[in-house]
């Protein structure tokens, strides 16, 4: 089972570090990561393995959202199925 994490917000030091530290604590493996900065705006997408997380998927969603609030960026975790179903036949 895979999840898609998107991070959007003003660029600053340590965004990736904080997100990755949290994911490591939760036993979530990062499968793919891509990041761009356009006009100081940080935009990252991660594909992560959520087959065996320490916490339930719903809790990861809340934790990441809250983590985003403390850093001042928007962090979303969504199940990959929503993207697969909309963009793949």
């Amino acid at each position: 089972m895979k999840g898609i994490i998107t991070v959007l917000g003003k660029d600053q030091v340590g965004i990736i570090a904080k997100v990755c530290t949290y994911l490591a604590e939760q036993n979530v493996n990062i499968l793919d990561i891509s990041q761009t900065i356009v006009q100081d705006y940080f935009n990252m997408m991660m594909i992560v393995d959520i087959s065996n997380p320490a916490k339930a998927f719903e809790n990861l969603i809340t934790d990441l959202h809250d983590l985003g609030l403390t850093i001042g960026v928007e962090i979303k975790l969504q199940h990959e199925d929503i993207f697969n179903s909309m963009h793949r036949i």
Binding site: T6, I47, F57, L77, H79, I82, N84, S85, M86, H87
Partner: protein, 452 residues
Amino acid sequence: MISKFEVQETNTMISEMKLDVRTITMGISLMDCGHPDLKTFNQKVYDKITRLAEHLVKTGEDLERQFGIPIINKRISVTPIAIAAGPTEATSYVSVAETLDRAAREVGVNFLGGFSALVQKGYTNSDRILIDSIPEALAVTERVCSSVNIGSSRSGINMDAVKKMGEIIRQTAELTADRDSLGCSKLVVFCNAVEDNPFMAGAFHGPGEPECEINVGVSGPGVVKRALEDVKDVDFETLCETIKRTAFKVTRAGQLVAQEAAKRLGVPFGSIDLSLAPTPAVGDSIAEIFRVMGLEEAGAPGTTAALAILNDNVKKGGVMASSYVGGLSGAFIPVSEDQAMIEAVQRGALTLEKLEAMTCVCSVGLDMVAIPGDTSASTIAGIIADEAAIGMVNNKTTAVRLIPVIGKGVGEIAEFGGLLGYAPVMPVNRFDCAPFINRGGRVPAPIHSFKN
């Protein structure tokens, strides 16, 4: 693997273009609740609904979080009460409506549909009791929706019922006169009603449906509008292609939610209703799509053609995206629930007659139209008859949800609140049709109904 572009596209659709799943509606059969004693019947109905739908709202909220897509409404449709309550010895079904209202509140759904009767060919005793109970039932309940099917392409039109519904709509308006005749916003008169419609106020769980099922209504006028803005001034081929592609993606999101919801609730997945359903929010409007297509306002010449194109291509795009398509499936044109439609009425661009023409090519009918409070029952019946004729002859569903706003006249505003929005009172043709309506009896089925 999913690309960053695709992730961004989906999330922009959700956050900026108001992509959502409009409703997850659980259809519940009440066929096994029959009992001669009304109290026992009501108890069985309450118990069954609250048992089966106990986790409906929670499941909807979980899916919303998991996929990151809003699921706006969780609702319930039940077996038409005129059928389910048939075995009771009751002479009024108002207490059934109150029971449904309590059950809806208990499980946390905002609307419950099915205070309904199917009388396209004639009344049963129970149908009469139900129809007579409608005005009071809608006045004393908050969440119950009612519908009556008065015609079909197979059976013709029950003109006695058409006349009766003109009177019932007026009585409902009068009993809720203190709330701008709000009761009428929960009452739909159908021709060719569908049995698995998840959208309110016309939802009911038809007699051919299973014990319990999940039907999902997708939406997304905002997404279609934005997609068309990106391809401005293209020819009709590209225009249609763009609508199809967008409808496909929107429907796939609905299909995913429907399957997952059915799985978690342990009930079968019924069908997806591919409808573009507007809300009063700016940007979530069918009439705004018309503007992008090149019409100054909804109602301008070309509007019927634009709606036909929109409706057809939503279906074409959606059909491939879902394994079961059902319900009404098309574009909804409720006046009060669509900000740009309201503006079109206020600017004098959109009339009742143009709306009637539009209903020939879209999935519903005269929906959420406020008319003067002094409109007579026979005039309302005449409007219903016109819409039913369009549905009967064209083998399509048509519906009438008119609100004669007691105490208000043309140009005044009726406020319904929430998703139901507000509407300017529209003028109605003042010439009399009473002798026509008073004939009574039944219009025979049209010639093309004989397909066997």
